[in-house]
Symmetry: C2
Subunit: 496 residues, 2 copies
């Protein structure tokens, strides 16, 4: 082996080790959410801190910089892998340990107070903590910007979603705002002319929901030899590519949240399962970021499972599980129930059409906070004003306004744009899939997603992190993000 | 701080980190047994190997030796802690990495073949693999002996149970052999004069077993804010002191195994819960070894839960759970069912009286294997001959002979003696507890173990690893291991 190849081989071994630590962390996070008794929390914190600290030390050890300077790789995948190693290393060494530790402490302190502030709808309570979080995030953003050549906000966004900048997102969001101003009243008016949806006859016994969620997620492609479905307060998809852990939350009087939630998480899970096995535990073998990930949960949940075709398969399944007459389970009624447009204050309850507005607001505000153009003290006012401008209603209190999400209060800035970017990418991918796969809707009407998943595996899942977000879309669909595909989808679904 | 104190402080931080990695490993082991889908096994292997490798590197880094040479500590606990650090370091650096890796590979290969060899009762199949395991264990034992000043077999045993040597165990086991030769026929004769036990009316629905096991383990002191009870093929107590994970295995037609198994694991769990919190993640804060641990599972299962007093509490509980008339649940009948003496071939099914004989055989054989006095090829013959000498019956095949246990085939030599040493220590501790706590049996008859557990916490659990096995017993009971207490207990239970 050449010296360059040896250096690269050492780097591969080191990154595999770092990734194995990451897998251990993923499992311990899942356990903490789904299994751990409350008394285990303090020790779990110690375990996770030790793993994070060791991973950071492995990444920032002096010999990594030496090997990265010496290494070269040949072949498209190895070249991409080495480039991703350089990127991960640059981001890791950019941040002084003292800053990382101060951020971790500030985030943790703020997040605790936020829970109470939200419960009391009292922003003043959390304000000083959030101000400290923002101060440290600005410092972090500046350090990452210096290391990456990106702007500070882009440098944060890049940590969640490589390959897309605020300058690209801004016009996309502005165009959506314009589209929504016209489309939302039309969709509401059209909806008002149609019959009110008939609620599904509950209750929905938890055991029956559990069995149904498991069966349907398996039906659409999740292999339970490599997965589990459990329960946690906040649903998520965790674990590792060969050992996926999805969770949901069941309530006897509510079906849609658990069912559609599990289908959503199954989309994430299928992405992880489809990552290239040959590149397991290498940077290039990972998923291509949060927007790409969200595109996969939404192509399953929104594009497929809430489609007329799939609802015609789902109706009889639901009736078999929960009984009652056929009317509520008719596909048209399910569509009215689960594709209802409604202006609301809460992002996580928002429909497909208004959801991006919730994010557009957050994107503008967090960019201003990181850029130093908005003071934390002015956040509630800016939020309410922005919200009214976008959706025409004003939050009655901060619990239904700027206190509703954990993200900022836990130090996550630059993450929010992933959601609508994912929704837009999902529409674009679905359009391309429909063009490539004849009978896609016929298959979906039989509950058969395998042709779609196979196409996604080839075009997207199996590509790992070779491409950034825009290049990945170009690879899969022949063009970079084209929000028109999303608005076309929305027009068909909500305006016709 | 002095230089010596600084060195010790650095060591404490390092050992805390190593212990946190160990806790992560414990959780991942639990998950692999109780939760993980089969497809996760390969990745789990990578995760555990990465954690073990990093822990080893942390322990054997050059600065540890420097700090250990420089460090001094004051106060009984810190002195003991530093001594345990030195011991752990000496054992870790004694083994060349190549030997550790060769052992891991050989154990893993042998264990896989052993499963098939046991299923086919074909020792020849596993013989070459076991020979390689033994060869590497002898090498390991010699390296540890050179580092610790112990004999090779003692050096292995010391890894499981610090503070007791084969020279101490040998006469104890010889005396037990003599006792058993006289006691076993008498116990059998006495048993034959008594009514046959009435079986409990099954089936025992799994949900009812689960609820009962949970309730009883809670009743005797396990706090489920810091524990879980789940299911796995092979029951165990895992997790960490503030987050205990016990498992069992339920079958509809069998109650004793799950119920007494959970009570046994609860004994282990209560020990872990009672370890000194102020010394968490330090060597001196750990449990004092496997024999001490087994004494705690057996003081709960054998000394308490199979006692006449506790059975009088348990009978009505069982009747309430599974129904039927009162006769099978009478304490005397439960005693006849669950304290039945019977010569059998299988260690894990053995009764309290004959169990030590199973271990005495293994102790002698493994000591001869490690000492080079017995060839692996001669193991089946030596086993069968030794078994007949101890219990008067000859295994019909090697599956019920030298192939029955995983231990040797997975490289565990020196572990077996912990079981009867634990049983003997349990009897000794119970005798001391009974002297210290008035009304102990009255409390037990009410299902109340808190006085006993409180005594054990003070005398044993809370002492962590300050003492080796013999010194721990001296601290708790005023004398080192006295097997007479155990034979007294057996005489009362089986010969009166």
């Amino acid at each position: 082996m050449t010296t360059q190849a040896e250096a690269y081989a050492r780097l591969k071994a080191r990154f595999a080790r770092i990734a194995a630590l990451g897998e251990a962390q993923a499992m311990l996070h899942w356990d903490a959410s789904a299994m751990m008794p409350p008394g285990g929390a303090a020790a779990r914190g110690e375990q996770l801190a030790a793993l994070a600290g060791l991973a950071h030390e492995l990444m920032t050890a002096p010999e990594v910089a030496e090997d990265l300077a010496a290494a070269s790789a040949t072949g498209e995948w190895d070249e991409a892998n080495l480039a991703l190693m350089r990127r991960a290393h640059a981001r890791a060494v950019a941040l002084p340990t003292a800053l990382v530790e101060a951020s971790t402490r500030a985030n943790s302190a703020c997040e605790k107070v936020w829970r109470e502030a939200k419960a009391r709808a009292d922003f003043a309570l959390v304000r000083p903590h959030l101000a400290e979080v923002v101060r440290l995030q600005r410092e972090t953003a500046q350090a990452l910007a210096a290391a990456t050549g990106l702007s500070p906000y882009d440098a944060l966004m890049d940590g969640y979603q490589r390959g897309v900048t605020a300058a690209e997102v801004e016009p996309i969001f502005a165009a959506y705002e314009a589209f929504l101003a016209e489309a939302l009243p039309c969709a509401e008016a059209l909806q008002a002319t149609r019959p009110a949806p008939i609620p599904l006859p509950g209750p929905f016994p938890v055991a029956a929901q559990r069995a149904l969620c498991r069966r349907l997620s398996e039906r659409i492609g999740l292999d339970y030899d490599h997965a589990r479905l459990d329960e946690s307060l906040h649903p998520f998809c965790g674990g590792t590519p060969t050992d996926i852990r999805i969770t949901t939350f069941y309530a006897e009087d509510e079906l849609a949240k658990s069912l559609l939630g599990v289908l959503h998480e199954t989309g994430h899970a299928l992405y992880e399962r489809g990552l290239p096995e040959a590149w397991a535990r290498q940077p290039v073998g990972e998923a291509a970021g949060m927007a790409a990930h969200e595109s996969q949960s939404l192509i399953v949940e929104m594009q497929t499972c809430r489609s007329d075709a799939f609802l015609s398969f789902l109706g009889p399944e639901l009736q078999a599980s929960f009984g009652g007459g056929p009317e509520p389970y008719a596909p048209a009624n399910l569509a009215r129930l689960w594709r209802r447009v409604s202006r609301g204050f809460i992002r996580v309850d928002a429909d497909e059409l208004t959801y991006p507005a919730h994010i557009i607001l957050r994107f503008r505000l967090e960019r201003a906070l990181i850029g130093g153009d908005l003071a934390v003290a002015d956040l509630p006012g800016a939020w309410n004003e922005g919200f009214r401008a976008l959706l025409g209603i004003t939050p009655p209190d901060d619990a239904r306004g700027c206190l509703q999400d954990i993200h900022w209060h836990d130090g996550a800035f630059g993450y929010f744009p992933s959601y609508p970017l994912g929704a837009m990418a999902a529409a674009q991918l679905m359009k391309a899939a429909r063009a490539a796969i004849p009978d896609l809707d016929t298959e979906m009407a039989r509950g058969e997603l395998l042709p779609l998943i196979a196409w996604l595996r080839e075009k997207l899942h199996g590509q790992g992190s070779r491409f950034g977000f825009q290049d990945l879309l170009r690879h899969a669909t022949g063009k970079s993000l084209d929000p028109q595909d999303f608005t076309e989808h929305l027009r068909r679904r909500y305006l016709e």
